[in-house]
Point group: C2
Chain length 306, copies 2
Protein backbone atom coordinates (compact mmCIF):
# COMPACT_ATOMS: atom_id res chain seq x y z
CA UNK A 1 0.00 0.00 0.00
CA UNK A 2 2.51 2.62 -1.11
CA UNK A 3 -0.13 5.35 -0.82
CA UNK A 4 -0.13 4.92 2.94
CA UNK A 5 3.50 5.99 3.09
CA UNK A 6 2.24 9.46 2.30
CA UNK A 7 0.14 9.52 5.45
CA UNK A 8 3.01 8.13 7.52
CA UNK A 9 5.27 11.04 6.58
CA UNK A 10 4.26 13.14 9.57
CA UNK A 11 5.37 10.31 11.85
CA UNK A 12 8.74 9.70 10.24
CA UNK A 13 9.91 13.04 8.90
CA UNK A 14 11.95 13.89 11.99
CA UNK A 15 13.92 10.63 11.92
CA UNK A 16 17.50 10.42 10.61
CA UNK A 17 17.42 9.14 6.95
CA UNK A 18 18.83 5.67 7.73
CA UNK A 19 16.42 5.10 10.58
CA UNK A 20 13.57 6.25 8.40
CA UNK A 21 14.50 3.94 5.52
CA UNK A 22 14.74 0.97 7.88
CA UNK A 23 11.43 1.82 9.54
CA UNK A 24 9.58 2.11 6.24
CA UNK A 25 11.10 -1.17 5.02
CA UNK A 26 9.94 -2.91 8.18
CA UNK A 27 6.44 -1.47 7.82
CA UNK A 28 6.25 -2.87 4.28
CA UNK A 29 7.51 -6.35 5.21
CA UNK A 30 5.10 -9.12 6.21
CA UNK A 31 7.09 -12.25 5.54
CA UNK A 32 10.77 -11.84 6.37
CA UNK A 33 12.14 -9.66 9.14
CA UNK A 34 8.83 -9.40 10.97
CA UNK A 35 8.49 -13.15 11.35
CA UNK A 36 12.20 -13.63 12.05
CA UNK A 37 11.94 -11.13 14.92
CA UNK A 38 8.84 -12.86 16.25
CA UNK A 39 10.63 -16.19 16.18
CA UNK A 40 13.67 -14.77 17.95
CA UNK A 41 11.45 -13.34 20.71
CA UNK A 42 9.21 -16.44 20.96
CA UNK A 43 6.20 -14.41 19.87
CA UNK A 44 3.67 -16.83 18.40
CA UNK A 45 1.03 -14.48 17.11
CA UNK A 46 0.48 -10.79 16.44
CA UNK A 47 -2.47 -8.74 15.30
CA UNK A 48 -1.45 -6.32 12.55
CA UNK A 49 -2.88 -2.90 11.89
CA UNK A 50 -2.38 0.10 9.64
CA UNK A 51 0.17 2.48 11.15
CA UNK A 52 -0.89 5.96 12.27
CA UNK A 53 -2.34 8.27 11.17
CA UNK A 54 -3.83 6.49 8.13
CA UNK A 55 -7.29 7.56 7.10
CA UNK A 56 -7.92 9.46 10.33
CA UNK A 57 -5.88 12.27 8.75
CA UNK A 58 -7.58 12.22 5.34
CA UNK A 59 -10.16 14.99 5.06
CA UNK A 60 -11.90 13.52 1.99
CA UNK A 61 -14.41 11.02 3.40
CA UNK A 62 -14.99 9.10 0.17
CA UNK A 63 -11.29 8.75 -0.53
CA UNK A 64 -10.69 7.69 3.08
CA UNK A 65 -13.41 5.03 2.90
CA UNK A 66 -12.07 3.65 -0.39
CA UNK A 67 -8.49 3.50 0.84
CA UNK A 68 -9.45 1.99 4.20
CA UNK A 69 -11.39 -0.73 2.39
CA UNK A 70 -8.44 -1.40 0.06
CA UNK A 71 -6.18 -1.51 3.12
CA UNK A 72 -8.39 -4.12 4.76
CA UNK A 73 -8.52 -6.25 1.61
CA UNK A 74 -4.74 -6.00 1.33
CA UNK A 75 -4.17 -6.90 4.99
CA UNK A 76 -6.51 -9.90 4.70
CA UNK A 77 -4.39 -11.21 1.81
CA UNK A 78 -1.16 -10.73 3.73
CA UNK A 79 -2.32 -12.43 6.91
CA UNK A 80 -3.78 -15.30 4.83
CA UNK A 81 -0.17 -16.13 3.94
CA UNK A 82 0.57 -16.77 7.65
CA UNK A 83 -2.76 -17.48 9.30
CA UNK A 84 -1.20 -19.06 12.38
CA UNK A 85 1.08 -16.09 12.98
CA UNK A 86 -1.00 -13.04 12.03
CA UNK A 87 -4.44 -11.65 12.71
CA UNK A 88 -5.79 -8.29 11.60
CA UNK A 89 -7.40 -5.17 12.99
CA UNK A 90 -9.67 -3.30 10.60
CA UNK A 91 -8.60 0.14 9.45
CA UNK A 92 -11.67 2.35 9.41
CA UNK A 93 -12.44 5.73 7.95
CA UNK A 94 -14.47 7.21 10.81
CA UNK A 95 -15.96 10.08 8.82
CA UNK A 96 -19.36 8.38 8.56
CA UNK A 97 -20.20 6.27 11.63
CA UNK A 98 -22.65 4.08 9.74
CA UNK A 99 -20.13 3.28 7.02
CA UNK A 100 -17.45 2.59 9.66
CA UNK A 101 -19.83 0.19 11.40
CA UNK A 102 -20.53 -1.62 8.13
CA UNK A 103 -16.85 -1.92 7.25
CA UNK A 104 -16.06 -3.22 10.74
CA UNK A 105 -18.78 -5.84 10.36
CA UNK A 106 -17.58 -6.83 6.88
CA UNK A 107 -13.98 -7.34 7.96
CA UNK A 108 -14.91 -9.27 11.10
CA UNK A 109 -17.31 -11.49 9.18
CA UNK A 110 -15.39 -12.00 5.93
CA UNK A 111 -11.78 -11.79 7.11
CA UNK A 112 -12.00 -12.85 10.74
CA UNK A 113 -10.52 -9.53 11.86
CA UNK A 114 -10.20 -9.26 15.63
CA UNK A 115 -11.55 -5.74 16.00
CA UNK A 116 -10.34 -2.37 14.74
CA UNK A 117 -7.50 0.01 15.46
CA UNK A 118 -8.41 3.67 15.11
CA UNK A 119 -5.74 6.35 15.08
CA UNK A 120 -7.49 8.91 17.24
CA UNK A 121 -9.78 11.71 16.13
CA UNK A 122 -10.78 12.16 12.51
CA UNK A 123 -9.75 15.65 11.47
CA UNK A 124 -10.60 16.98 14.94
CA UNK A 125 -13.79 14.99 15.47
CA UNK A 126 -13.88 12.85 18.64
CA UNK A 127 -15.95 9.73 19.08
CA UNK A 128 -17.85 10.79 22.18
CA UNK A 129 -19.99 12.66 19.66
CA UNK A 130 -23.44 11.01 19.89
CA UNK A 131 -23.32 10.45 16.14
CA UNK A 132 -20.84 7.65 16.87
CA UNK A 133 -23.26 5.73 19.07
CA UNK A 134 -24.25 3.82 15.96
CA UNK A 135 -20.63 2.71 15.54
CA UNK A 136 -20.17 1.79 19.21
CA UNK A 137 -23.42 -0.18 19.15
CA UNK A 138 -22.11 -2.27 16.25
CA UNK A 139 -18.72 -2.83 17.88
CA UNK A 140 -20.51 -4.03 21.02
CA UNK A 141 -22.88 -6.27 19.06
CA UNK A 142 -19.93 -7.82 17.20
CA UNK A 143 -17.94 -8.10 20.45
CA UNK A 144 -15.14 -6.43 18.48
CA UNK A 145 -12.56 -4.61 20.68
CA UNK A 146 -11.59 -1.16 19.45
CA UNK A 147 -7.95 -0.13 19.91
CA UNK A 148 -7.62 3.64 20.24
CA UNK A 149 -4.15 4.52 19.01
CA UNK A 150 -2.54 7.99 19.29
CA UNK A 151 -2.89 10.78 16.82
CA UNK A 152 -1.18 14.11 16.64
CA UNK A 153 -3.21 16.86 18.29
CA UNK A 154 -5.99 18.25 16.11
CA UNK A 155 -4.98 21.59 17.61
CA UNK A 156 -1.74 21.83 19.61
CA UNK A 157 -2.51 23.15 23.12
CA UNK A 158 -1.06 26.55 23.98
CA UNK A 159 0.84 24.80 26.81
CA UNK A 160 2.87 22.77 24.29
CA UNK A 161 2.88 25.20 21.36
CA UNK A 162 6.44 26.49 21.87
CA UNK A 163 7.93 23.02 22.56
CA UNK A 164 7.72 20.69 19.52
CA UNK A 165 9.67 18.00 21.39
CA UNK A 166 6.66 17.55 23.72
CA UNK A 167 3.91 17.60 21.09
CA UNK A 168 4.26 14.05 19.75
CA UNK A 169 5.17 10.60 20.99
CA UNK A 170 7.29 11.84 23.90
CA UNK A 171 4.32 13.38 25.73
CA UNK A 172 1.56 14.90 23.58
CA UNK A 173 0.19 11.64 22.19
CA UNK A 174 -0.58 10.38 25.67
CA UNK A 175 -2.42 13.58 26.48
CA UNK A 176 -4.34 13.45 23.21
CA UNK A 177 -5.24 9.76 23.36
CA UNK A 178 -5.72 9.62 27.11
CA UNK A 179 -7.95 12.68 26.88
CA UNK A 180 -9.92 11.10 24.04
CA UNK A 181 -10.42 7.88 26.03
CA UNK A 182 -11.63 9.94 28.99
CA UNK A 183 -14.06 11.80 26.73
CA UNK A 184 -15.55 8.40 25.88
CA UNK A 185 -15.66 7.36 29.54
CA UNK A 186 -17.05 10.60 30.99
CA UNK A 187 -19.27 10.99 27.92
CA UNK A 188 -21.09 7.84 29.01
CA UNK A 189 -20.14 5.64 26.04
CA UNK A 190 -19.48 2.66 28.33
CA UNK A 191 -22.76 3.25 30.15
CA UNK A 192 -24.67 3.21 26.87
CA UNK A 193 -22.66 0.20 25.56
CA UNK A 194 -21.62 -1.76 28.64
CA UNK A 195 -20.23 -4.64 26.59
CA UNK A 196 -17.86 -2.39 24.65
CA UNK A 197 -14.16 -3.17 24.93
CA UNK A 198 -11.65 -0.35 24.41
CA UNK A 199 -7.94 -1.07 24.13
CA UNK A 200 -5.26 1.53 24.86
CA UNK A 201 -1.57 1.07 24.13
CA UNK A 202 1.42 2.71 25.78
CA UNK A 203 0.51 1.29 29.19
CA UNK A 204 -2.97 2.72 28.88
CA UNK A 205 -1.57 6.15 28.04
CA UNK A 206 -0.79 6.25 31.79
CA UNK A 207 -4.45 6.59 32.78
CA UNK A 208 -4.40 3.49 35.05
CA UNK A 209 -2.27 5.44 37.54
CA UNK A 210 -4.88 8.19 37.72
CA UNK A 211 -7.76 5.88 38.71
CA UNK A 212 -7.85 6.89 42.36
CA UNK A 213 -7.71 10.58 41.51
CA UNK A 214 -10.42 10.24 38.84
CA UNK A 215 -12.77 8.91 41.52
CA UNK A 216 -11.74 11.41 44.18
CA UNK A 217 -11.90 14.54 42.04
CA UNK A 218 -14.91 13.50 39.96
CA UNK A 219 -16.85 12.99 43.21
CA UNK A 220 -15.95 16.54 44.26
CA UNK A 221 -16.40 18.18 40.86
CA UNK A 222 -18.90 16.19 38.77
CA UNK A 223 -19.84 19.18 36.58
CA UNK A 224 -23.28 17.70 36.05
CA UNK A 225 -21.95 14.42 34.66
CA UNK A 226 -23.43 11.20 36.05
CA UNK A 227 -21.95 7.76 35.52
CA UNK A 228 -23.22 4.33 36.53
CA UNK A 229 -19.90 3.38 38.12
CA UNK A 230 -16.98 5.28 39.64
CA UNK A 231 -14.62 6.24 36.78
CA UNK A 232 -12.00 3.79 38.08
CA UNK A 233 -14.34 0.83 37.56
CA UNK A 234 -14.36 1.20 33.77
CA UNK A 235 -10.67 0.33 33.82
CA UNK A 236 -11.76 -3.18 34.75
CA UNK A 237 -15.11 -3.49 33.03
CA UNK A 238 -14.36 -1.95 29.64
CA UNK A 239 -10.76 -0.82 29.21
CA UNK A 240 -7.82 -3.04 28.34
CA UNK A 241 -4.26 -1.81 28.01
CA UNK A 242 -1.15 -3.03 26.25
CA UNK A 243 2.50 -2.61 27.12
CA UNK A 244 3.37 -1.50 23.56
CA UNK A 245 5.88 1.34 23.73
CA UNK A 246 6.52 1.20 27.49
CA UNK A 247 9.08 -1.36 28.63
CA UNK A 248 9.41 -0.57 32.32
CA UNK A 249 8.75 -3.14 35.02
CA UNK A 250 7.69 -0.85 37.93
CA UNK A 251 5.16 0.85 35.67
CA UNK A 252 3.89 -2.53 34.43
CA UNK A 253 3.46 -3.77 38.01
CA UNK A 254 1.67 -0.54 38.93
CA UNK A 255 -0.71 -0.93 35.99
CA UNK A 256 -1.43 -4.57 36.90
CA UNK A 257 -2.04 -3.50 40.50
CA UNK A 258 -4.49 -0.85 39.36
CA UNK A 259 -6.37 -2.77 36.67
CA UNK A 260 -5.93 -6.38 37.63
CA UNK A 261 -3.91 -8.92 35.64
CA UNK A 262 -6.92 -9.67 33.41
CA UNK A 263 -6.79 -6.34 31.61
CA UNK A 264 -3.10 -5.90 30.75
CA UNK A 265 -1.70 -7.37 27.52
CA UNK A 266 1.88 -7.70 26.38
CA UNK A 267 2.39 -6.12 22.97
CA UNK A 268 5.28 -4.82 20.87
CA UNK A 269 5.19 -1.36 19.31
CA UNK A 270 6.78 -2.87 16.20
CA UNK A 271 8.65 -1.45 14.33
CA UNK A 272 8.81 1.67 16.51
CA UNK A 273 10.45 -0.41 19.19
CA UNK A 274 12.39 -3.63 18.67
CA UNK A 275 10.77 -6.97 19.35
CA UNK A 276 13.98 -8.05 21.07
CA UNK A 277 13.84 -5.11 23.53
CA UNK A 278 10.18 -5.65 24.31
CA UNK A 279 10.64 -9.39 24.80
CA UNK A 280 13.70 -8.90 26.99
CA UNK A 281 11.65 -6.51 29.14
CA UNK A 282 8.71 -8.84 29.63
CA UNK A 283 10.95 -11.88 30.16
CA UNK A 284 12.78 -10.04 32.96
CA UNK A 285 9.69 -8.49 34.58
CA UNK A 286 9.07 -9.95 38.06
CA UNK A 287 5.69 -11.57 37.35
CA UNK A 288 4.44 -14.77 38.96
CA UNK A 289 3.71 -17.58 36.51
CA UNK A 290 -0.05 -17.10 36.49
CA UNK A 291 0.18 -13.36 35.88
CA UNK A 292 2.80 -13.89 33.19
CA UNK A 293 0.53 -16.36 31.40
CA UNK A 294 -2.35 -13.91 31.47
CA UNK A 295 -0.34 -10.90 30.31
CA UNK A 296 1.62 -12.76 27.63
CA UNK A 297 -1.19 -14.77 26.00
CA UNK A 298 -4.22 -15.64 28.13
CA UNK A 299 -5.79 -12.18 28.04
CA UNK A 300 -5.22 -11.81 24.31
CA UNK A 301 -6.76 -15.23 23.63
CA UNK A 302 -9.84 -14.32 25.64
CA UNK A 303 -10.23 -10.72 24.43
CA UNK A 304 -9.66 -11.44 20.75
CA UNK A 305 -11.10 -14.99 20.78
CA UNK A 306 -7.91 -16.50 19.35
Amino acid sequence: MPVFSEYAKAFTQHLPPDDRRELLARLDDFDEQRIADMDAGHVDYVILSQSAPGMQAEPDARLAQRLATENNDFLAERIAQHPRRFGGFAHLAMHDPAQAARELERTVRDYGFKGALINGHTCGRYYDDRAYDEFWARAEALDAPIYLHPANFAEVPALLQPVPVLQGATFGWSVETGGHALRLLFGGVFDRFPGLKLVLGHMGEFLPFMRWRFDSRFAAYPHGVTLRQPPSAYFRSNIYITTAGVCSAPTLLGAIGEMGADNVLFSVDYPYESTADACAFIDAAPLDAATRAQVCHGNARRLFKL
Copy 2:
Protein backbone atom coordinates in the same frame (compact mmCIF):
# COMPACT_ATOMS: atom_id res chain seq x y z
CA MET B 1 -6.00 36.74 54.61
CA PRO B 2 -9.64 37.10 53.54
CA VAL B 3 -8.56 38.64 50.24
CA PHE B 4 -7.17 35.27 49.17
CA SER B 5 -10.62 33.74 49.38
CA GLU B 6 -11.38 35.77 46.26
CA TYR B 7 -8.64 33.98 44.34
CA ALA B 8 -9.76 30.59 45.65
CA LYS B 9 -13.24 31.04 44.18
CA ALA B 10 -12.38 29.35 40.91
CA PHE B 11 -11.35 26.26 42.85
CA THR B 12 -14.39 26.03 45.06
CA GLN B 13 -17.29 27.42 43.04
CA HIS B 14 -18.42 24.01 41.77
CA LEU B 15 -18.62 22.48 45.24
CA PRO B 16 -21.93 21.97 47.05
CA PRO B 17 -22.46 24.90 49.53
CA ASP B 18 -21.87 22.82 52.69
CA ASP B 19 -18.66 21.31 51.35
CA ARG B 20 -17.49 24.73 50.25
CA ARG B 21 -18.16 26.28 53.67
CA GLU B 22 -16.30 23.48 55.41
CA LEU B 23 -13.38 23.72 53.01
CA LEU B 24 -13.00 27.47 53.44
CA ALA B 25 -13.19 27.14 57.22
CA ARG B 26 -10.44 24.54 57.17
CA LEU B 27 -8.27 26.72 54.95
CA ASP B 28 -8.60 29.58 57.45
CA ASP B 29 -7.82 27.45 60.50
CA PHE B 30 -4.25 27.04 61.76
CA ASP B 31 -4.72 26.05 65.37
CA GLU B 32 -7.73 23.79 65.86
CA GLN B 33 -8.98 21.25 63.34
CA ARG B 34 -5.74 21.20 61.38
CA ILE B 35 -3.65 20.18 64.38
CA ALA B 36 -6.33 17.83 65.69
CA ASP B 37 -6.32 16.01 62.35
CA MET B 38 -2.53 15.85 62.35
CA ASP B 39 -2.57 14.39 65.84
CA ALA B 40 -5.19 11.81 64.91
CA GLY B 41 -3.10 10.71 61.92
CA HIS B 42 0.24 10.80 63.79
CA VAL B 43 1.52 13.55 61.49
CA ASP B 44 4.26 15.43 63.35
CA TYR B 45 5.00 18.23 60.96
CA VAL B 46 3.60 19.86 57.86
CA ILE B 47 4.79 22.62 55.58
CA LEU B 48 2.00 25.08 54.83
CA SER B 49 1.45 27.04 51.66
CA GLN B 50 -1.02 29.43 50.08
CA SER B 51 -3.75 27.51 48.26
CA ALA B 52 -4.06 27.76 44.48
CA PRO B 53 -4.20 29.88 42.45
CA GLY B 54 -3.12 32.78 44.67
CA MET B 55 -1.03 35.46 43.04
CA GLN B 56 -0.33 33.35 39.95
CA ALA B 57 -3.79 34.42 38.77
CA GLU B 58 -3.43 38.14 39.58
CA PRO B 59 -2.60 40.14 36.45
CA ASP B 60 -1.47 43.26 38.35
CA ALA B 61 2.20 42.62 39.17
CA ARG B 62 2.52 45.24 41.91
CA LEU B 63 -0.66 44.14 43.65
CA ALA B 64 0.47 40.51 43.38
CA GLN B 65 3.87 41.28 44.90
CA ARG B 66 2.34 43.23 47.76
CA LEU B 67 -0.23 40.54 48.56
CA ALA B 68 2.32 37.72 48.29
CA THR B 69 4.59 39.55 50.72
CA GLU B 70 1.69 40.12 53.13
CA ASN B 71 0.81 36.44 52.78
CA ASN B 72 4.34 35.42 53.71
CA ASP B 73 4.41 37.74 56.71
CA PHE B 74 1.05 36.36 57.80
CA LEU B 75 2.14 32.73 57.35
CA ALA B 76 5.33 33.35 59.32
CA GLU B 77 3.23 34.63 62.23
CA ARG B 78 0.92 31.64 62.10
CA ILE B 79 3.65 29.03 62.02
CA ALA B 80 5.50 30.84 64.82
CA GLN B 81 2.58 29.81 67.03
CA HIS B 82 3.41 26.14 66.42
CA PRO B 83 7.04 26.04 65.33
CA ARG B 84 7.42 22.33 66.03
CA ARG B 85 4.36 21.43 63.95
CA PHE B 86 4.46 23.86 61.02
CA GLY B 87 6.91 25.10 58.45
CA GLY B 88 6.21 27.41 55.54
CA PHE B 89 6.59 27.60 51.78
CA ALA B 90 6.91 31.09 50.35
CA HIS B 91 4.11 32.36 48.15
CA LEU B 92 5.68 34.26 45.28
CA ALA B 93 4.35 36.62 42.66
CA MET B 94 6.30 35.37 39.64
CA HIS B 95 5.64 38.37 37.42
CA ASP B 96 9.15 39.73 37.92
CA PRO B 97 11.76 36.97 38.30
CA ALA B 98 14.20 39.24 40.17
CA GLN B 99 11.57 40.29 42.69
CA ALA B 100 10.48 36.67 43.14
CA ALA B 101 14.10 35.68 43.80
CA ARG B 102 14.46 38.45 46.40
CA GLU B 103 11.23 37.49 48.16
CA LEU B 104 12.26 33.83 48.20
CA GLU B 105 15.58 34.80 49.77
CA ARG B 106 13.92 37.08 52.33
CA THR B 107 11.47 34.42 53.49
CA VAL B 108 14.09 31.68 53.66
CA ARG B 109 16.50 33.94 55.58
CA ASP B 110 14.08 35.79 57.87
CA TYR B 111 11.36 33.20 58.37
CA GLY B 112 13.17 29.92 57.84
CA PHE B 113 10.79 29.01 55.01
CA LYS B 114 11.60 25.65 53.43
CA GLY B 115 11.27 26.72 49.81
CA ALA B 116 8.36 28.02 47.76
CA LEU B 117 5.15 26.64 46.33
CA ILE B 118 4.16 28.13 42.99
CA ASN B 119 0.72 27.57 41.53
CA GLY B 120 1.73 27.05 37.92
CA HIS B 121 2.03 29.63 35.18
CA THR B 122 1.54 33.33 35.85
CA CYS B 123 -1.22 34.52 33.57
CA GLY B 124 0.01 32.19 30.80
CA ARG B 125 3.73 32.69 31.30
CA TYR B 126 5.76 29.51 31.92
CA TYR B 127 9.03 29.38 33.81
CA ASP B 128 11.13 27.77 31.10
CA ASP B 129 11.29 31.33 29.75
CA ARG B 130 14.98 32.30 30.00
CA ALA B 131 13.96 35.38 31.97
CA TYR B 132 13.35 33.02 34.90
CA ASP B 133 16.93 31.76 34.96
CA GLU B 134 17.61 34.47 37.51
CA PHE B 135 14.97 32.99 39.75
CA TRP B 136 16.13 29.40 39.31
CA ALA B 137 19.72 30.46 40.02
CA ARG B 138 18.66 31.95 43.36
CA ALA B 139 16.58 28.90 44.29
CA GLU B 140 19.59 26.70 43.56
CA ALA B 141 21.94 28.98 45.51
CA LEU B 142 19.60 28.95 48.50
CA ASP B 143 19.08 25.16 48.13
CA ALA B 144 15.39 26.00 48.33
CA PRO B 145 13.11 23.36 46.73
CA ILE B 146 10.35 24.72 44.51
CA TYR B 147 6.99 22.95 44.60
CA LEU B 148 5.15 23.35 41.31
CA HIS B 149 1.45 23.06 42.10
CA PRO B 150 -1.35 22.84 39.51
CA ALA B 151 -3.08 25.75 37.92
CA ASN B 152 -6.07 25.88 35.65
CA PHE B 153 -5.08 25.95 31.98
CA ALA B 154 -4.06 29.37 30.71
CA GLU B 155 -5.92 28.35 27.56
CA VAL B 156 -8.09 25.23 27.63
CA PRO B 157 -6.92 22.81 24.90
CA ALA B 158 -9.37 22.13 22.08
CA LEU B 159 -9.28 18.46 23.13
CA LEU B 160 -10.88 19.30 26.50
CA GLN B 161 -12.89 22.37 25.50
CA PRO B 162 -16.29 20.62 25.32
CA VAL B 163 -15.78 18.59 28.55
CA PRO B 164 -15.53 20.81 31.65
CA VAL B 165 -15.36 17.74 33.90
CA LEU B 166 -11.90 16.97 32.45
CA GLN B 167 -10.47 20.49 32.54
CA GLY B 168 -9.59 20.73 36.22
CA ALA B 169 -8.43 18.49 39.04
CA THR B 170 -9.83 15.29 37.53
CA PHE B 171 -7.44 15.36 34.56
CA GLY B 172 -6.50 18.77 33.17
CA TRP B 173 -4.33 19.89 36.10
CA SER B 174 -2.02 16.95 35.62
CA VAL B 175 -1.66 17.76 31.94
CA GLU B 176 -1.03 21.43 32.70
CA THR B 177 1.40 20.90 35.55
CA GLY B 178 3.07 17.83 34.09
CA GLY B 179 3.51 19.68 30.83
CA HIS B 180 4.95 22.69 32.65
CA ALA B 181 7.44 20.49 34.51
CA LEU B 182 8.46 18.89 31.21
CA ARG B 183 8.94 22.35 29.69
CA LEU B 184 11.44 23.01 32.49
CA LEU B 185 13.17 19.65 31.97
CA PHE B 186 13.35 19.73 28.16
CA GLY B 187 14.06 23.45 28.27
CA GLY B 188 17.34 22.64 30.03
CA VAL B 189 16.58 24.31 33.37
CA PHE B 190 18.09 21.37 35.29
CA ASP B 191 21.15 21.38 33.05
CA ARG B 192 21.72 25.07 33.74
CA PHE B 193 20.96 24.65 37.47
CA PRO B 194 21.93 21.09 38.35
CA GLY B 195 21.40 21.61 42.07
CA LEU B 196 17.80 22.74 41.59
CA LYS B 197 15.13 20.68 43.34
CA LEU B 198 11.64 20.63 41.89
CA VAL B 199 8.75 19.06 43.81
CA LEU B 200 5.58 17.80 42.11
CA GLY B 201 2.47 16.69 43.98
CA HIS B 202 -0.26 14.28 42.89
CA MET B 203 2.24 11.41 42.51
CA GLY B 204 4.41 13.55 40.28
CA GLU B 205 1.44 14.40 38.07
CA PHE B 206 1.93 10.82 36.80
CA LEU B 207 5.16 11.67 34.96
CA PRO B 208 7.21 8.99 36.81
CA PHE B 209 5.36 6.31 34.85
CA MET B 210 6.37 7.90 31.56
CA ARG B 211 10.14 7.82 32.27
CA TRP B 212 10.93 4.92 29.96
CA ARG B 213 8.88 6.39 27.15
CA PHE B 214 10.46 9.86 27.58
CA ASP B 215 13.86 8.29 26.95
CA SER B 216 12.74 6.08 24.11
CA ARG B 217 10.79 8.69 22.15
CA PHE B 218 13.11 11.61 22.90
CA ALA B 219 16.00 9.55 21.48
CA ALA B 220 14.00 8.99 18.29
CA TYR B 221 12.57 12.52 18.00
CA PRO B 222 14.88 15.03 19.75
CA HIS B 223 13.64 17.99 17.69
CA GLY B 224 17.01 19.66 18.09
CA VAL B 225 16.90 19.54 21.90
CA THR B 226 20.02 18.29 23.67
CA LEU B 227 20.15 17.34 27.35
CA ARG B 228 23.05 16.27 29.53
CA GLN B 229 21.22 13.21 30.80
CA PRO B 230 18.41 11.01 29.48
CA PRO B 231 15.11 12.64 30.52
CA SER B 232 14.42 9.82 32.97
CA ALA B 233 17.53 10.66 34.99
CA TYR B 234 16.17 14.04 36.11
CA PHE B 235 13.48 12.16 38.03
CA ARG B 236 16.24 11.08 40.37
CA SER B 237 18.65 14.01 40.24
CA ASN B 238 16.26 16.96 40.41
CA ILE B 239 12.61 15.96 40.74
CA TYR B 240 10.85 14.91 43.94
CA ILE B 241 7.23 13.88 44.13
CA THR B 242 4.62 13.75 46.84
CA THR B 243 1.64 11.47 47.31
CA ALA B 244 -0.71 14.40 48.00
CA GLY B 245 -4.02 13.78 46.26
CA VAL B 246 -3.30 10.20 45.14
CA CYS B 247 -3.92 7.49 47.74
CA SER B 248 -3.40 4.31 45.75
CA ALA B 249 -0.83 1.71 46.74
CA PRO B 250 -0.06 0.15 43.31
CA THR B 251 0.60 3.61 41.91
CA LEU B 252 2.77 4.51 44.89
CA LEU B 253 4.81 1.33 44.46
CA GLY B 254 5.18 2.03 40.76
CA ALA B 255 6.40 5.56 41.46
CA ILE B 256 8.91 4.30 44.03
CA GLY B 257 10.09 1.69 41.54
CA GLU B 258 10.61 4.34 38.89
CA MET B 259 12.17 7.09 41.00
CA GLY B 260 13.73 5.27 43.89
CA ALA B 261 12.54 5.54 47.50
CA ASP B 262 14.66 8.68 48.03
CA ASN B 263 12.50 10.90 45.86
CA VAL B 264 8.96 10.09 47.00
CA LEU B 265 7.42 11.95 49.96
CA PHE B 266 4.20 11.28 51.81
CA SER B 267 1.99 14.35 51.91
CA VAL B 268 -1.66 15.17 52.50
CA ASP B 269 -3.63 17.33 50.07
CA TYR B 270 -5.30 18.98 53.07
CA PRO B 271 -8.08 20.09 53.15
CA TYR B 272 -8.90 18.83 49.65
CA GLU B 273 -8.47 15.30 50.98
CA SER B 274 -8.86 14.19 54.58
CA THR B 275 -5.78 13.59 56.70
CA ALA B 276 -7.46 10.42 57.99
CA ASP B 277 -7.87 8.99 54.48
CA ALA B 278 -4.30 9.84 53.47
CA CYS B 279 -2.86 8.38 56.66
CA ALA B 280 -4.96 5.22 56.37
CA PHE B 281 -3.63 4.80 52.84
CA ILE B 282 0.03 5.17 53.74
CA ASP B 283 -0.31 3.04 56.88
CA ALA B 284 -1.79 0.20 54.80
CA ALA B 285 0.62 0.51 51.86
CA PRO B 286 2.88 -2.56 51.59
CA LEU B 287 6.22 -0.80 52.19
CA ASP B 288 9.21 -2.31 53.94
CA ALA B 289 10.30 -0.50 57.10
CA ALA B 290 13.24 1.31 55.49
CA THR B 291 11.16 2.57 52.55
CA ARG B 292 8.35 3.60 54.88
CA ALA B 293 10.79 5.62 56.99
CA GLN B 294 12.12 7.38 53.91
CA VAL B 295 8.74 8.15 52.39
CA CYS B 296 7.08 9.18 55.66
CA HIS B 297 9.80 11.41 57.11
CA GLY B 298 13.42 10.74 56.08
CA ASN B 299 13.15 12.26 52.63
CA ALA B 300 11.33 15.34 53.91
CA ARG B 301 13.91 15.87 56.65
CA ARG B 302 16.72 15.70 54.11
CA LEU B 303 15.08 17.71 51.34
CA PHE B 304 13.75 20.48 53.55
CA LYS B 305 16.52 20.33 56.15
CA LEU B 306 14.08 19.81 59.01
